[in-house]
Symmetry: C2
Subunit: 86 residues, 2 copies
DNA sequence: TAAAAATACTCCATAGGTATTTTAT
DNA sequence: ATAAAATACCTATGGAGTATTTTTA
C-alpha cells in the first residue's frame, strides 16, 4: 500500500464517483479505478459498492475512510512540524 | 511522498545505517539512499546527519520519526479494522 | 440512449539494480 | 586498507494514458 492508494480512495469516497475523483486527483478514470482495485485486493475487503448505478461506501469503507484521513493528516502534520523545527 | 519513503526512513533511523536499512527493507543501498534524498528534498529538511563517519538523526528527524511511526501504525490499524468489519 | 465504471492494450517515467567513486577512519 | 555512503548509469516494472466495451437506469 502507498499513500497514492489512500489519496485516491479518499477522493472517491468523498465524490462517490470514480470519474469525478479522477478529475480531482488529476489522473484518468481507468488509472484511478485500477488503484482502488489494488487497494481492495491488498486489504482483501470491498470498500466501495458499485453494483448499482451509484457508488457508495461499505461499512468497512466508512471506517477505512476515517483511518485514511488520519493517515494523511499525520503525514501533513509531521511534515509541517519537521519544517518548523529545522 | 509515498509510504515507501516513510518505511525506508524508519528503517534508516532505527538502524542508523543506510546499508543495514537497505538489507532490512530488501532494496540496495543506492536505491534506499536515493529515496531518503527525495524525502528530504520534498520536505526541504535534513532528517539524517551523515557528515561524519556515522549516521545520526537531526532534531527534525527525531520528530519526523515519531510521526512516521504513527502513520504506519494508523495504516496497519485501519487495515486490520477494515478486515474485521468485513 | 447516455453516463459511468470496467477492460484491454500501449507507453514511459522512475524505482530499483550494477558498477564505481568518494569519503572518513 | 576498509567500510559505508554517494554518484553514474542502465534496466524493467507498473502507474498512467487512449480506446473501447459493458452495464444500468
Amino acid at each position: 500500500m502507498e499513500l497514492r492508494h489512500i489519496r485516491y480512495f479518499i477522493a472517491t469516497a468523498e465524490e462517490l464517483s470514480f470519474r469525478r475523483a479522477a478529475e480531482r486527483t488529476n489522473v484518468t478514470q481507468p488509472s484511478l479505478s485500477e488503484q482502488i482495485r489494488q487497494l481492495e485486493g491488498e486489504i482483501g475487503v470491498r470498500l466501495l459498492e458499485r453494483d448499482t448505478h451509484r457508488v457508495s461506501l461499505t461499512a468497512a469503507g466508512r471506517n477505512f475512510l476515517e483511518s485514511s484521513r488520519r493517515v494523511l493528516r499525520e503525514v501533513e502534520d509531521g511534515t509541517r512540524i519537521a519544517r518548523r523545527i529545522a
